[in-house]
């Protein structure tokens, strides 16, 4: 498994592809593989909000200007900025 290190958004990820949560488009589903963030408090908060390894997330809504994004996980919706979603490594799931 290798993840892209740069901050550019990789578009058109297919089921089975690896990438960052920020790469996904509306309607795509993915499983969280790993998760890193330099800001310890923010990382802690995201853990508390349920972003842990193995959790399935779906991109539900995108704000009118493209950011933030609302993701569905654990039965609720969480709004995040794409910048904060970059640290979340995912595997794209099929329908």
């Amino acid at each position: 498994m290798s993840y892209p290190d740069d901050n550019t958004r990789r578009l058109n990820l297919k089921p089975g592809d690896f990438g960052h949560l920020s790469d996904l488009n509306k309607g795509q589903k993915a499983m969280v593989i790993d998760f890193h963030n330099d800001n310890a408090a923010l990382r802690r908060h995201l853990l508390d909000m349920g972003i842990t390894k193995g959790v399935v997330v779906e991109i539900k809504k995108v704000a009118p200007f493209g950011d933030p994004v609302s993701i569905k996980l654990r039965g609720y919706e969480l709004a995040l900025r794409r910048a904060d979603m970059r640290g979340i490594d995912i595997e794209v799931l099929g329908e």
């Binding site: 349920g50 654990r74 900025r81 910048a83």
Partner: protein, 699 residues
């Protein structure tokens, strides 16, 4: 002995509604010790010794925002006798995650499974007996909104028939063994060790707050576990809590696949790429039209007539004949008839009644405004506003969440400044606090509406709206300046739950509106009363205390108000304001604007005390003291602008000082605000002056 019961839960779990349902109407509001965060307490209905304390909404006992720190401190240090953990049954996993933490405290916990009324329509069914068994805690199904289960909850609390906290072991064996080990080694003399199970987990996580508790060096063992699990300790704990919760959910809860939810359908419209912003603008316009336009034009002239008397009033932009003496003139007359002196009658009629009534006339439009804000907040739309504005606000060094203080600020800056606490980043929070007073608050509304109707009686509400957007522009420009001064980098974040849309509970919404309106009236009765007295004294006497007020109560009786103390003070400062007031040298306008620093409500009542009666008359009848506002409408606009943007009232300044953590930042904020107020109002004033051919009036 009085029992302290804490109400703890996620944001949007229905905490406030349950608090109201449990306590009825007997809540008292104060502040948490040491912080300005509101603390609500009340006796639980039908009990003699159960005091319920509401806490700020949290997702975890690892606090992320200032408010969340309060809840953690309460749970750990206040030693409550019982915690009621309200959970949103429609998002069970995230809610129960907090429950697993609360269950580690030494306190007993009752789980109140809320939103029972909408479970079915969400296709969810929950076996609460099984949930109770697996959690080891009493679980009661309730609906805070419909009242279902509330009596049962109260009964269980008052009879004490809830399960004792069994401290279930929820972690994998090797992790649990390490945590038990840490617990056994706790330095039990320390305060933090009062909740040993919780402290042990926190030690495992290396929470800096608990490190003092550590007696033994277990770091190597934790490290070994981290390597084994491929995660750090914090991650392991969060992971295992969620594993436990997922297992609970799988056993106790079944979900049917549902067609697209109403929330998703609504969001397709409200968060639509093209429609979101126009809809937001339209909603705000409707709010302002209903409050300032409709409610205002329907009632304010009428209320004014009740206090100050009239022959005809304007209702919905139509002049109607309405002959009434009015409370003030009636009282004044009876004082004179009873042999009282004219100055005493004048004090009551033109000092006290005129001053207070000028504020009270705005009560109807304020309550409509408060109502609209409460609905926007309770329905979940406010979260959406923050969501779609974040991208714009981010560019200005603010968070989308800054919009919430800005919108709350249309009511009052004080709670608005406090609500800035939900903004996570310190710099963003400070900027939000400094900029919130620029929002036209309810006390500025009287100034806006009075002057807007002088500029255009029919389209006054549109002028009010234009000021709202002008203030947004000023906020964004100031934000850019502050951002540059702060050398702010883009390392901030926005994390917010997007809750499902809800119908606000009418009873509690109205109660909230009532409370807010009442606190406005209270201010009018206290601060404004004393300010009116002071202004009256300063306008009716010279420095040598010679009475120079009206010699009789007849309208238009001669006064020598320009010899008064206030006039002398104003005459000195008024030179500075010639550009701002459109080339007019007016001590009356100047001293009134200055009084806005004490309370914004005071501006209009000061103008009316100085004018000796109705402010609208004083501005519209040619030759009156403030008629220049009607002949130079842009001067009226710039007067509004100055009052809108100049430093806020004492109350807001105090809140700012507390929230910004000191004088330095507060002084910076005041400087910024006064500077803007002077510059922007002078721009409009200079145009007005230029249009009038640079003629100076009043010198």
């Amino acid at each position: 002995m009085m029992k302290t019961i804490g109400l703890v839960g996620n944001q949007n779990a229905g905490k406030t509604t349950l608090f109201n349902a449990l306590t009825g109407m007997n809540a008292t509001v104060g502040n948490w010790p040491g912080v300005t965060i509101e603390r609500k307490e009340g006796q639980i209905k039908g009990t003699a010794d159960c005091r319920l304390v509401d806490t700020p909404g949290v997702y975890s006992l690892s606090p992320y925002t200032e408010e969340e720190k309060v809840t953690r401190a309460f749970c750990l240090n206040a030693h409550p006798d019982l915690l009621i953990n309200i959970i949103d049954a429609t998002s069970l996993e995230r809610s129960l995650y907090l429950t697993t933490q609360l269950a580690e405290l030494s306190t007993d916990v009752i789980v109140a499974l809320n939103m029972a009324d909408i479970l079915e329509s969400n296709g969810i069914s929950i076996d609460e007996n099984k949930l109770s068994e697996m959690l080891g805690l009493t679980v009661i199904r309730i609906s805070a909104k419909t009242g279902e289960g509330i009596n049962k909850l109260i009964e269980v609390i008052s009879k004490g028939t809830y399960k004792k906290n069994p401290h279930q072991k929820i972690y994998a064996k090797d992790i649990q063994r390490e945590i038990d080990h840490l617990e056994g080694d706790l330095n039990s003399e320390l305060e933090e060790a009062k909740n040993p199970k919780f402290a042990a987990v926190k030690l495992f996580e290396r929470d800096p707050f608990f490190l003092a508790l550590n007696n033994t060096s277990t770091d190597n063992e934790v490290r070994a576990l981290e390597t084994q699990y491929g995660m750090d300790a914090e991650q392991i704990i969060a992971d295992q809590r969620y594993d436990f919760v997922t297992k609970l959910k799988a056993e106790c809860c079944s979900e049917k696949a549902m067609p697209e939810s109403i929330t998703d359908k609504l969001d397709k419209v409200f968060l639509n790429r093209w429609a979101a912003i126009p809809l937001f603008v339209a909603i705000m316009a409707v709010v302002y039209f209903l409050s300032v336009g409709l409610a205002g034009s329907l009632t304010s002239d009428f209320i004014d007539a009740l206090f100050n008397g009239s022959e005809e009033i304007t209702v919905l932009y139509q002049t109607v004949s309405f002959n009434i003496k009015g409370l003030g003139p009636l009282l004044g007359e009876s004082i004179v008839n009873a042999g009282g002196s004219v100055w005493a009658a004048d004090l009551i009629q033109n000092g006290v009644i005129a001053g207070i009534s000028s504020v009270l006339t705005f009560v109807p439009q304020l309550s409509v405004l408060f109502l609209a804000m409460a609905i926007l907040e309770a329905s979940g739309y406010m979260n959406r506003i923050a969501f779609f504005l974040d991208q714009i606000f981010k560019r200005f060094g603010l968070s989308g969440k800054s919009i919430i203080p800005f919108i709350v600020g249309t009511g009052c800056s004080v709670p608005a400044i406090m609500s800035a606490r939900t903004v996570e980043n310190k710099k963003e929070r400070e900027m939000t606090i400094m900029l919130t007073p620029f929002i036209p608050c309810s006390a500025k509304l009287p100034i806006i509406t009075a002057f807007a109707s002088v500029i255009s009686p029919t389209y006054g509400w549109l002028i009010s709206l234009s000021l709202y957007f002008l203030s947004l522009a000023i906020i964004l420009i100031s934000a850019l300046i502050l951002k540059a001064l702060n050398h702010q980098k883009g390392d901030t974040s926005f994390i917010s739950e997007l809750p499902a849309y809800k119908w606000p509970n009418p009873e509690y919404t109205l109660k909230e509106v009532g409370e807010k309106t009442w606190s406005f009236v209270e201010r009018a009765a206290t601060v404004i009363f004393f300010c009116s007295l002071a202004v009256w004294t300063l306008t009716r006497f010279t420095w040598s205390m010679e009475y120079i007020g009206p010699s009789s109560l007849l309208a238009g009786a001669a006064t020598q108000i320009d010899r008064s103390m206030l006039a002398d003070i104003g005459k000195g400062i008024a030179y500075l304001f010639i550009p701002a007031w459109g080339g007019v040298y007016s001590w009356g306008a100047t001293v009134s604007a200055m009084q806005g620093l004490i309370a914004k409500e005071q501006v209009i009542s000061s103008l009316s005390v100085i004018a000796g009666g109705n402010i609208a008359t004083a501005m519209t009848v040619p030759g009156s003291l403030f008629s220049f506002f009607a002949t130079r409408p842009l001067a009226a606009y710039s007067f509004m602008v100055f009052n809108l943007f100049s430093a806020p009232c004492i109350g807001a300044l105090t809140a700012m000082k507390k929230e910004l953590g000191g004088w330095k930042m507060m002084v910076k904020a005041i400087g910024l605000e006064l500077g803007w107020a002077y510059v922007v109002s002078s721009i409009f004033g200079l145009i007005a002056w230029g249009l009038a051919g640079w003629e100076v009036v009043g010198l």
